[in-house]
């Protein structure tokens, strides 16, 4: 079986090529996203402001736009995109199910519920205002997935079917509670809805800084997990025979991916389809081996979300489209296309 894996790897191009190409693509997309916005700033002026900023000179409107608005926004979009895609690839690998995603286990609906509670009651309950929307969303996302895992636990194992069932059911209940909050507090409904649909309009360096300490360790853990995931594709028993502590690895990977997703959702709202579509596209383009799939998913998740956010803030400028709507409108049909191609290919 190890030989079968090796053959699979050899069929695709090996080496650092794809990662380099993808990294270059990300760099180009980031530069483009920083250069374009609702205020027209010439590329030379953007470059000037960037260089001035690097030298420590910050002044003027262009500087504010480039350094305080576009740069944190693009960075945050790429961090969130990378986290969501990484988490999606991990979940799909762990469950050996192409539809798995942290959202499926209630991370999204939990975060949405936490955010809505703060948005509705922060005026009446001062301590909720201190907690803030982001932390509430983060905590509720983690709590929801933890409860789902507890509900689904059988002995020492976590069967995929029970996990996903518990996730879907608890998620639906929390979504209903969120909808009720929106209807009960009509004047906050617009705010809750924009949060639920996801947006980088309020991106700031603070949010980038809040993401990093969670994201960096999570990315490191998930990047190291590629080889174990590859072995686990042979089935739990074979993996155990090959010396992988299957249940422990599963638990660590699911927890880490959930953490990354919760962090992403807490700074940007519920952005769908990134975790689902990106790993599929990467698998199709670069092959199914997780050693490569995991890092490439991160890079292409970042590219996808930076581009989606660029559409969100320019297509109808000065009005912004919630970025979650862009990812769903683009990601949905794209996913269906992948599905058809995969079927005709097999």
């Amino acid at each position: 079986m190890a030989r079968a894996l090796a053959r699979q790897g050899a069929a695709r191009r090996t080496g650092p090529g794809p990662l380099l190409v993808s990294g270059l693509a990300l760099a180009i997309v980031v530069v483009a996203a920083i250069s374009v916005g609702s205020v027209r700033v010439l590329p030379g002026a953007v470059l000037g402001a960037l260089l001035d900023g690097v030298r420590g000179h910050h002044s003027g409107t262009v500087d504010t736009i480039v350094w305080q608005l576009r740069l944190p926004r693009v960075l945050l979009a790429s961090l969130v995109g990378a986290s969501l895609a990484l988490a999606g690839a991990t979940f799909q690998g762990v469950f050996r199910n192409p539809l798995a995603d942290p959202y499926l286990l209630g991370a999204a609906s939990g975060a949405g519920f936490g955010a809505s509670v703060v948005l509705v009651f922060a005026g009446a309950v001062p301590w909720l205002a201190h907690v803030g929307v982001g932390w509430a969303a983060f905590a509720c996302a983690l709590a929801t997935v933890a409860v789902v895992a507890l509900l689904a636990r059988q002995g020492r194992g976590l069967p995929a079917v029970s996990l996903i069932l518990a996730g879907v059911v608890l998620g639906s209940s929390l979504s209903a509670a969120t909808s009720f909050l929106m209807l009960a507090a009509r004047d906050r409904a617009a705010g809750i809805l924009s949060w639920l649909l996801g947006s980088f309009a309020f991106a700031s360096w603070d949010r980038v800084a809040a993401m990093l300490p969670l994201l960096v360790p999570a990315v490191l853990v998930l990047l190291l997990a590629g080889r174990a995931l590859d072995v686990m594709q042979l089935g739990d028993e074979s993996a155990a025979q090959l010396g992988v502590p299957v249940e422990a690895v599963k638990l660590i990977l699911l927890a880490t991916a959930t953490l990354a997703t919760a962090a992403a959702v807490s700074v940007a709202g519920v952005i769908g389809f990134v975790g689902l579509v990106v790993p599929h596209a990467v698998r199709l383009a670069f092959g199914p081996r997780h050693v490569r799939l995991i890092p490439l998913s991160a890079v292409w998740g970042a590219i996808f979300l930076v581009l989606a956010d660029l559409c969100a803030r320019t297509v109808l400028a000065p009005a912004e489209i919630p970025v979650g709507i862009v990812t769903a409108l683009v990601g949905g049909p794209f996913f269906l296309l992948l599905l058809r191609r995969q079927r005709s290919g097999s």
């Binding site: 305080q68 608005l69 009960a184 009509r186 004047d187 924009s194 309020f202 000065p318 912004e320």
Partner: protein, 293 residues
Amino acid sequence: MIKRAMVLVVLLLAFQAALATNYPLTVRDQLGHELTLPRAPTHIVSMIPSDTETVCALGACDALVGVDAFSDWPKQVASLPHLGNANAPDIERLVALKPDLVLTDEYSGLAARLEQLGIPVYAGTPQTYQGALDFLGVMGRLLDRQTAAALVRGRIEGQVAAVAAKVAKLPRVSVFVELDATPYSVGPGSYLGTLLEKAGGRTIVTRAMGEYPQVDPEYVVQQDPQVVLLMDAPYGQTVAKAEARPGWSGLRAVRDGRVLPLDQQQVDILSRAGPRMGDAVVLLAKLLHPGHF
């Protein structure tokens, strides 16, 4: 004659001076954050339609440099740059306008983001009749338009008092306000509930049901309102569709032809707690007591 005119001018100047704002001015907004204005703002961005109306009613429309997408009154603000809305703002364009005062809501998070960027921002927009009257005073101070604020407030209170004097002798009219067809309505504690009260009406919703409750259709039939106000008429609701609902044919409002569709302009006047509140009460009084106004 000339002497008297001069006395008047001196008095007027003294009056103005007494009501002039001393800058730098520090105020707390409704989030409790401090805002300091070094001088009267000349580049104002308003992200709330009722705030836009207030700024213009105080005579500072020329100082507006940008508004949210829903601000459409007075007409001259239509030509200003639109900056999305408070929940999905175009912060980049807002920053490029270099405002020296931004007016926004307290919930969206826009205020916090603008504060980070060093842009003076006042967060908080009135939700009640009394809140809107007080807000006029706050804006008067911020914009150094305290005389205008007092005049606008006086006009609103005059309109409301005139309506109150007339409706005091008339029986109260029971009203079902339909915000949408599900149906959502307004309670007595809500902003529109207060206006109805001042216009000699009474919402069929009780205080216990809340400010914006979803109402059981049976309850509407059982309460048998004298007037139905279709606030959802600009969004496709029609009198014919409403009257065709089960049990509605026997309602007093239907029999008397008093299921009233409102147009967008009327809905805006009734839903924005701003300088047109007096007009809103007069409008409601005309709808509820035709022939008396």
